[in-house]
């Protein structure tokens, strides 16, 4: 039995490593997506122009504007003199953002009251605007810190000195949010794609009959087919665990062993789904379409695109059955929040339950569709 299983696993690994199409699925999407989400979004935000609507004209606002002008990323500072002018500047793409200092801003700073800077962004250039917002945020925080040193400005929860209102696209996410989510999505895409085509490819090649007349038992075939996508998922995720903190500066704060346990269960749940698709498809084309069919709802209901809490109640119940939803919480938690073990485990057991269901269902279907 171990000999057969070993032969099966080795064969499956070779099949993936030597099949050009499978290799592309393994290597290209993770890298492309990393570039699209990582570098492409940051490229266009050097030398951006900022409009200033200074109704305060006090010491604090002047100080802030000078700091802004001194920032290496900011190109030109454009003064505007009315809300209409501000609108015009954004509409005409003269600036990507307009900062408004209300009357009494410097007074508030001097009097140690919360001081607010209004910010308008061009939501048409949403990615750039988000990144600019991030820069401004940091400058405000820096200024707040140094101002606080001289004028004792109390920033509320670190960033409340900036009041943000986005035009056209009220979107708030950024690298710190995208990257842990991306890990969840990309490992899903490759695991599903690899699993979904595994059986149908053999059917097309005509090797499936050859497997079925061999002494291999069904469970040996299934286990053999599960190992490669599992390894692919682990390798991809590990790559991301290295790249994301080191290249994109997203902190990795939680427990790695627990993360890997959750990752393996997440992969198993997805492999079960992929096997279902695979067993139902007669051709590789059907398998590809089938895996897209399941991928889209899995992504939409994961909380990656929009928070699960904002969904209608019944859909939230449905989302509980989505492994990506649980694993996204774990991924974000392990990256950003130093999530405690108890909380990780609370989100891990649903993954185990889902994996048990999908794997059982796929092996039952596999057996019944063998003929």
């Amino acid at each position: 039995m171990w000999g057969r299983l070993q032969a099966m696993v080795v064969k499956e690994l070779w099949a993936i490593l030597r099949d050009p199409r499978a290799r592309i699925i393994l290597i290209v999407p993770p890298i492309v997506q990393l570039f699209v989400f990582g570098f492409a979004t940051t490229l266009e935000v050097k030398n951006f122009d900022v409009g200033i609507y200074d109704r305060d004209n006090g010491a604090a606002s002047q100080e802030f504007i000078q700091r802004l002008a001194g920032s290496p990323n900011v190109g030109r500072i454009v003064s505007v003199h009315s809300p209409a002018e501000a609108r015009e500047a954004i509409d005409g793409r003269a600036v990507i953002a307009v900062l408004t200092f209300e009357q009494g801003f410097s007074g508030n700073v001097a009097a140690h009251r919360p001081a607010v800077i209004g910010a308008l962004y061009d939501g048409r250039r949403s990615n750039a605007a988000q990144i600019v917002a991030g820069y401004l945020d940091r400058i405000v925080a820096d200024t707040g810190a140094s101002l606080a040193a001289t004028a004792h400005l109390q920033p509320q929860d670190g960033r409340s000195a900036l009041e943000v209102s986005h035009w056209f696209n009220p979107n708030l996410d950024y690298m710190w949010f995208t990257m842990p989510g991306l890990l969840v999505i990309i490992s899903m895409v490759s695991a599903l794609a690899v699993t979904a085509q595994t059986v149908s490819r053999e059917r097309e090649l005509g090797t499936f009959d050859q497997l079925m007349v061999s002494p291999l038992r069904v469970h040996e075939i299934l286990v053999g087919k599960m190992i490669p996508p599992l390894l692919v998922g682990i390798v991809n995720s590990t790559l991301y665990l290295i790249i994301i903190p080191n290249l994109f500066g997203v902190p990795l704060t939680g427990s790695l062993p627990l993360f890997y346990i959750a990752l393996i269960l997440y992969m198993c749940a997805l492999i079960g789904v992929g096997m279902l698709v695979s067993a139902l498809s007669m051709t590789q084309q059907q398998a590809f379409l089938g895996s897209f069919l399941v991928m889209v709802p899995l992504i939409l209901l994961s909380g990656y695109a929009s928070p699960v809490d904002n969904m209608p109640g019944w859909l939230q119940v449905v989302a509980e059955g989505n492994p990506a939803k649980h694993f996204l919480i774990i991924s974000e938690g392990v990256f950003l929040k130093a999530m405690p073990a108890v909380e990780i485990l609370a989100n891990t057991w649903p993954l185990a339950a889902i994996a048990a269901v999908t794997l059982t269902a796929s092996s039952l279907l596999f057996r019944s569709r063998m003929e």
Partner: protein, 575 residues
Amino acid sequence: MDAPLACARAVTKRFAAAGPPALDAVDIEIAPGRMTGLVGPDGAGKTTLIRLLTGLLVPDRGTVEVGGVPATAQDRSVIGYMPQRFGLYEDLSVIENLSLYADLRGLPPAERPENFRRLLGFTDLERFRTRLAGRLSGGMKQKLGLACALVRTPKLLLLDEPGVGVDPISRRELWKMVRDLAGEGIGVLWSTAYLDEAERCDTVFLLNGGRLLHAGPPAELTQRMDGRVFRVYAGGTGRREVLERALNLSEVSDGTIQGASLRLVTRTQGAAPTVDALQVPAGTRIAPTAPRFEDAFVDILGGGPPGTSTLAQRYRTIPQSGEPAIIASGLTRRFGDFTAASNISFSVGRGQIFGLLGPNGAGKSTTFKMLCGLLTPTSGNGQVAGFDLRSGRAECRQSLGYMAQKFSLYGDLSVRQNLNFYAGIYGLAGGVQREAIGRVVDIFHLQSYLDTNSGTMPLGFKQRLALACAVMHQPPVLFLDEPTSGVDPIVRREFWTHINGLVERGVTVLVTTHFMDEAEYCDRIGLIYRAEQIAAGTPDELKQAAAAQAGLKDPTLEDAFIALIEESDRKREAA
């Protein structure tokens, strides 16, 4: 003779800069009103040549002309082309497929009803007008493909292996249809790997490995073999051993089994092999017989392989047992309310070859699949190597070797990886595994290919590798599903030399085939038609039965096949 309708002159085509060309300085002419055969095994360059004639490919050197202009410049409506897997839309009905091709080929609407009626009548598909193309049998699909290629009567009809995967009856019908077309003045190019089809063409171009070996009427080639072909009436039991001895004789260049007798080709004219040389009982009849195109082809290629199988020499002897090695008792399989196989019973003794024959969709594959464990019988049962099909599934699988019709090993894996995998799943480990792999590598000369992707090997080597993978664990029973379709006659002979040798060692073989040549090697044949076994017996018994029923004189196995099926149809209509 009329001016040629199409011709290729000194055409060379290469797909890879390194490696041999797909076509090497080939000349061909297609005359109007004649059947031109393009003959050769898979990989000979047939499809490449046809695609050059359609103008889909451009030659590296040489010229290709159709109707006096270069093929690439010719109006496509002049050419009717039916590729190997014709582009039928399986989810469209017969008539929708025809209409689609009429649209694509710009047939004026006014001509359609008349044209469709003619084509459907001619292909006998009128009854299936609204049936989805995907639901047609293999033979009917080919006929529909032909009808679509003819939707606008072409001057030149190029058919790329229309007979592949089609049973002898449909093949014969298809042939007759195309022959009639040629009679109307269309130039037809019929490409095939079946040499018996080649024999019936007016002119034959014989390709092998991209080179043209012969051009002219087939008889011209066959004549060279006059006086060199002999039939040895060796009798059923020892014929495989006699064949082995005969093929090892230096004066015998080629030989095959024909039912109970042997067909031997000698190197010199008129020198019949002697009783002494063959070590057959005195008085065994050895008589000259008419040569065939295949004899000539093998002769051009330098004769067949020697008679002794190195595989069999190094194979274990399967122990005697009182029981048959394969038993089918009342095997029945239903899919919904459709019965694919009904009450099929036969048994095959140790060291015997049993052939399952029948038209496409008649139930022979279903029967085959039930016996090798790919399908569970709805009722009835069977045994393989003494193990029950239902209760001893795992043991059954361990004791059978399986080789499928199309190359079904892992093409992206190297030869070594394929061998390791198959050795592993059949439970060979450690030293036993290394020894088994070393043995087959040695026997099948796979050494130089060990690290090559198996999918890129020449077809003959793929076929050897498939056999190697199937026999590495030395099973007592072999299941072969059209094992040699498409390979050249030399490789086919080599294959059957191995099988014959294994059978002498006690291995039992179940084979399905459309190739009558292969059927002749069987000890017994079961003919399956409309889910039932309509005849069973030795090849000679079937021929005799057909001769008695249809009044044929010395029928071939194909004649017998067709006669028995037609007889069954008559009985059914009478009932």
